[in-house]
């Protein structure tokens, strides 16, 4: 049974990736989880310089989901390369680095720096964080912005480039197309949905940032729909995410058109989820006699249903 998938030049042993911002830098989990059992570890979003992030409260649980406004607290790319990457390399993890820029130049600088770092296997370009004002999302919300960032990053690196798209746009498929036109090797979607929760007793927002991004099972059907729309708009691989909590959820995305998937919020609930995901996928493939997971990608059947039986 072949669980491996290919995203540009990035080959992964299985389609399950740890989503950015939900898995620290990977090393936090190295003691508890075999990182090589995960298709790829996507790092927390990195700017060139360290960032402090927002004051608490940074998360709040909502029905079947959670809001977060962490504000991209991070150690910056140089400390990542010096302090985290050596251990990830030693473990043999497949590492995708999520890069964030306030300007086009910052994305390019990050791409150059990381291209020279041993042990980085791909770049996820964050043009979709809903929680910070400076840059990122302003690129990801426009066709030109997306095109410009992706082309600039592509010119600066030999690594596979995968912009992470926001769902907070009218037509995510057109953004995916702009990314493809700019030479993206893949697109990942969706980032979180901009959302808000209020404490009615104090009449204060529950997050210090007032608004935050919604993730978790609550968003899954919307995310599946968006992956399906993008599948019809682009030919490059899609990495799907949004509320995946088990193999069945992941299969929805794969059947809708995702080559690989990312798991975020569910990893908070169950840090040992990874073996359960691959196990569940194997069970499904065995039951449906499917040899390669790649054969499932975009296998959704939307033809008109034939009548199975007619009563009386």
């Amino acid at each position: 049974m072949d669980l491996s998938v290919q995203i540009g030049s990035l080959r992964m042993a299985n389609p399950f990736m740890a989503a950015s911002g939900c898995f620290g830098y990977g090393v936090e989990y190295a003691g508890a989880v075999d990182l090589t059992s995960i298709g790829a570890v996507v790092s927390k979003g990195l700017f060139v310089k360290p960032r402090e992030g927002h004051p608490p409260e940074r998360i709040v649980e909502t029905p079947a989901g959670m809001l977060n406004a962490i504000g991209l607290q991070g150690i910056g790319v140089h400390r990542y390369i010096k302090e985290k990457l050596p251990e990830l390399r030693r473990i043999g993890a497949t590492n995708v680095v999520n890069i964030c820029g306030s300007t086009l130049d910052e994305y390019v600088e990050l791409a150059r720096i990381l291209s020279d770092a041993e042990g980085v296997h791909g770049l996820e370009v964050n043009i979709s964080c809903p929680n910070i004002k400076e840059g990122g999302i302003t690129f990801g919300c426009s066709l030109h912005g997306t095109f410009d960032v992706v082309s600039a990053v592509k010119k600066a690196t030999h690594l596979p480039v995968m912009p992470k798209l926001t769902p907070n746009v009218t037509d995510v498929a057109s953004i995916a197309k702009a990314a493809e036109d700019a030479g993206a090797d893949a697109v990942s979607l969706v980032n979180t949905f901009l959302a808000m929760a209020i404490d009615i007793e104090t009449r204060r927002p529950k997050l210090s940032n007032i608004v935050g991004g919604l993730s978790g099972p609550a968003i899954r059907p919307i995310a599946v729909r968006m992956v399906y729309e993008c599948r019809r708009a682009v030919k490059i691989p899609i990495v799907g995410m949004g509320g995946i909590a088990n193999a069945d959820d992941a299969l929805e995305f794969i059947i809708a058109g995702a080559t690989a998937v990312q798991v975020g919020t569910a990893n908070f609930v169950d840090p040992f989820i990874w073996n359960k995901l691959t196990g569940g996928l194997r069970d499904y493939m065995q039951r449906h006699r499917i040899e390669r997971v790649a054969d499932l990608v975009g296998s959704i059947d939307v033809t008109k249903r034939e009548k199975q039986w007619i009563s009386s």
Partner: protein, 268 residues
Amino acid sequence: MPVDVEARVISNTRLSSDYNVIALDAPEIARGTAPGQFVMVKPGRGTDPLLRRPFSVFEVLELNGTVSGLSLLSKRIGVTTRLLFDAVEGDVVSCLGPLGRPYTLVDPPTEAWMVAGGVGLAPFATLANALASRGVRTTLFYGARSGRELFYLDWFEARGVAMQLSTEDGTRGDRGRVTLPLERALKAHGSADVMVYACGPEPMLEAVAHVCGRYGRTCEVSVERVMGCGMGGCYSCVVPVKDAGGGQHYVRSCLGGPVFKSADLVWD
């Protein structure tokens, strides 16, 4: 190394209309737990609650000299604590741990003063046991809203812990906050070699930190923050910690804490 255990509820003792002590069949976690460490808990398998919640390990339970499980002291305030309050023997609770940095243990002649506010009593049963086995003289300063909300007094007294009680309504011990008897003791024993351990609501921790600062005593506090994962993955549970350079930076309380030196934290 944390482990995840689908722990059976061994017993659930209601201490009042809000407080309960729930015993969980999780010896794998209990065996490795040091005083002040916590577990991430989720009752049920559904999406309400979706995320686990952090709880200090209250007791490490033993049966015939073998570790048999752990207990949690819980106060009913939200969905998880309501489910823990209502749980019955045989129910299953997901329990991930042990997690976080424990309290620093002292040795005689240093004395230990534990300062607890309400459900902040939670880490002090394991700490009292650990200190007793080292022969450390230990006092518990324990405050609650009312005498009806002071629990396990006999348990601590049986272990030779001196008690300094306070209640906001004056029904037991000093009338007022727990810092009242604490400050009185610091004044009276000006030169005593004392380590202060605190756990409780954040305003209480801040008050204890300031009192200890004024009297030049080392104090460790266990903070409680909204926590998404307990493993360092989500960066939600941060507290501001002082830099050497006079600034501050956010530290994840699941990895850097939940126990911090009170002097290291920025109290705003």
